[in-house]
Symmetry: D2
Subunit: 317 residues, 4 copies
């Protein structure tokens, strides 16, 4: 058989660190269904909801999509140096609007998320890619506990921060950065390669009427659940920001499958840890005015149409 020779690259093994969350849920679906990705495990942090709810959501989503064999490890129940302030975009359970998701029969790994990541990194021959779609509590704790394993992380693709967004909002910060700015700073200072998928690009992948029309065409059980998630998620966005639901986390995940969906630009990012309003602000020094080395690649442009095509195709298959 020559298939292999012809066949595309071996799927990229990843760990997905998340706080499901509706958009995390869709990222999970994408990671499971994409042939380009080998989902080695899911680690969970607090953020959109309390840790136990996010863990339960992760287990139920995986079970529902037939990914019951993907290990799930629970991580941080609180940010590193602040009280937990929950996100508000996903309702009290972190995944409202999902009444008929099954209860999970599978259980969580008997170890903390950071230990699960460490074990997984050690088992891999090559440095591993991590996609993080929540506050960086787990990744920050990992840097604190496992400095010797940092070279085994190839990079972190993180949904969070904001650089280009119009700041017509109550805070110039993005929730994942706001929730645990100290963890973000630890990761930024760690030397690990970081790609920031911030609101600058994620607020451009919006589910509006044309997108709904496409989603409705996917007439499968999965398609209907995703549609329900979007409808719930949409309501909160529409009320507070006047736009449809932004697929923040799915965009971060999609970059593993197709990095050409975005343009990026290197910069040194500073994070404010004090202040009344602006802690968690991610301030990018694109002009090297501070004389500090770049510590991130920042997504600055996105091809939203191609992103949605990718998403539809993954749901359809």
């Amino acid at each position: 058989m020559t298939t292999l020779a012809n066949s595309p690259t071996r799927p990229t093994p990843i760990i997905l660190d998340c706080d499901p969350g509706h958009d995390d849920a869709i990222a999970l679906v994408m990671a499971h269904r994409s042939k380009a990705i080998d989902l080695l495990g899911v680690t969970v942090t607090c953020g959109n909801a309390e840790l136990d709810k996010c863990v339960s959501n992760a287990l139920r989503i995986l079970e529902f999509i037939g990914a019951g064999d993907v290990p799930v490890a629970a991580g941080c129940y609180r940010p590193l140096a602040r009280p937990l302030v929950l996100g508000t975009a996903d309702g009290p359970s972190g995944l409202e609007g999902s009444p008929y998701l099954p209860m999970a029969t599978k259980t969580v790994e008997p170890m903390h998320a950071v230990d699960f990541i460490a074990r997984t990194l050690r088992e891999q021959d090559e440095p591993l890619r991590i996609v993080a779609t929540g506050p960086l509590c787990n990744m920050g704790l990992f840097v604190l506990k496992y400095p010797e394993l940092l070279p085994k992380i190839k990079d972190i693709t993180w949904m969070g921060g904001v650089f280009y967004r119009k700041s017509e909002i109550i805070t110039p910060t993005e929730f994942n950065a706001f929730c645990d700015p100290e963890a973000l700073k630890i990761v930024l200072d760690s030397g690990v390669k970081l790609t920031m998928v911030g609101l600058d690009v994620t607020m451009q992948v919006l589910v509006e009427e044309p997108q709904y029309a496409e989603f409705r065409k996917i007439d499968t059980e999965l398609g209907r659940v995703v549609n329900d998630w979007l409808l719930f998620y949409e309501k909160l966005h529409r009320n507070s920001m006047g736009v449809g639901g932004a697929l923040h986390d799915p965009l971060a995940l999609a970059l593993i499958i197709d990095p050409t969906l975005v343009r990026t630009r290197p910069a040194h990012i500073g994070v404010d840890l004090a202040g009344t309003y602006a802690f968690g602000a991610t301030v990018a020094d694109f002009w090297k005015e501070r004389g500090l080395p770049d510590n991130a690649e920042i997504c600055t442009e996105v091809d939203a149409d191609r992103f949605f095509e990718l998403l539809y195709s993954l749901l359809r298959d």
Copy 2:
């Protein structure tokens, strides 16, 4: 009686509090030449340059444009609670590119800017409008020293802050806010009506090739000086932000003449006083999430073409 119908509106008396500065200089020119404005005095603060340089610039500009009778009072030599960090947009003298401005023969008032403002307010029957185009040091000091005169200030039209600007910059703050955030907070808390003319709108009144073409047509001594200012000012903008010179301060001044140049929106503005990167951030709560009363009208849209028409006409006359 038809007198009233025939008689044009009485010019609006104002005090201009500024730190010239190229764009302050153009605002001064506009204030002097507009029939709609009665320039009662100019008060000067540190900001674009040290106080003595800004005072000297103000005196020379007024002399050059034949406004030697307008009183000038020197104000704060430093921000209220921080060391002075100079602006960089206007060169060391605060008004580079003006070699042939005359030395001033007129002298500064023998009293501090805040005392000059107090005296002027007391002399007026009606509450007075103030246009502030620099850091708010003088206005902050005024609030501290003259609480009993605050009702005599009709409003302050301030060039400063930023709400809608893309934050692809080293700081999410605007210079006038960054330079003296404590003074800004004092003014915001004072109950005085404030209109914020921030980078959100001022970065939309850019001098690019079409505007230069118009300026070049104004073939007077004044026209040539303004053109020289713009060319110097432009260089710095072009290098750092890749756009032509933004006429920040002239826009603020223009709103006295024609308030319909902008749309505004009320909000409560918070200012961060701590933090490494984001102190001076002006965070607007348009959605009343913090439950605090509005303390400013924020300019959100501008008609740049009409602004430039107004400016050209004032230079031409």
Copy 3:
């Protein structure tokens, strides 16, 4: 030559900047009655109570002691960069326990305290000494408004700060420093010579039973009023700190009459402006570890007995 022995030293002219306040009141009494002091004026700041109450207290005290000719000027109604948090040691009026003080017939100067200080400095041939026994709002505002007059201030003897105090209290800060730390920093950075009379020494001049016994012996109208002040003042100290009333402000004033009452030590003092608990902390670098020049003389030891002898003698005369 006997001339020198025969010619008593000319009384030291001072301005007293205060927020009466029971201990400020006693300092006022001392300043008026001491032949070594020429009280040129009293300037008032907010602190122990709102500005208007402190002004009223100052006027009434001066009238009561027959010092109706000493000018009183009202100063800052709020700290420079924070909301006013009133002291609690002196009751709501700032001078509880004084029912039979006369209402003042004299009135306040028609100018702000900082302008009064400026005028007085200009009238003096020699640089002038200032005693400050409240938050440094007025002195901070003076530095901001009159940099050219700073050389005419010989020194400021300030009651405030703490270095040696046992910190078994809710905050490691002293009230006058806590109330306006930005003003304190402005003064410390101004280059004006400052002597800090902090809790380290003032908590050692306590009115306990032996002192009360002496006060009771001073059987004059003034003696009885002072005794009543002490009894009221004492109650608050006793309840909160378990000791008698500490004569903070009188000790600062006494140093003009007899500087040998204390030992001092030069140091650079830093003031924290941020933080939840410790803003206003006055941190002395006696060991030059920060490499910054000394900006204050700090009182480290006091001869309490001699202080009280001085106080008794001034009340008795």
Copy 4:
């Protein structure tokens, strides 16, 4: 009844979390030699020196005193949310003056300190006491990672903080608190019972001439090493603070053997995380002014003589 006399109390099992450090070293010696203590393990944090040096010191000390069977686990290489600023009291190696300590033949546990603590807690039937004599990095990380095991910690006796100390120093903070204030706050907020053995009491257990005389009498190999440690340690104290070496960590350890050596007082402790000078300040609210529940017992008095008797006896045996 003689039963009680005959049945000696079972030794108290403890884990010692430390950053050796001369005074940590003496605490280690005491823990090993006291019959009242069962040293289940030693966990190490960065602080006095980098982690690897502190680990090496711990291993060498244990080997030297014949405690090679006590497990040692390495913990945090950096504070949770700040860069590491090393202590200066113990020289570059963290244990200068110990040239003839053997190199360690034993090795460190193959797990992180927090995992070692977790395993040990799980193995114990009863909640365990922990003595912490360094920055609280490890204990903070433990709270973040193992919330479910907090009930298995009986209490933490921590050397750190300061309440009553004369603050004639560059900072009002104690080194262990200054080094990782975020970790301290995490522990204070965790609900774990904490006893703070701060400078208030530890600066009263000073090694001066009378103490040296006693130490010199202990003419054993161990006695001589301890004496050498003290002589080195002393030099730094003498130069900087003008007093002999303070046995900070040994006093904390001694409280396990004899809690009557100190008096304690409950209070809510706040820790400042921001500020220029005073971050890490441990501010005790003994008077319940903030309305927050007590979160620590604070040592306020110490019987230094009895402490030294205990120490001598442990070295002599």
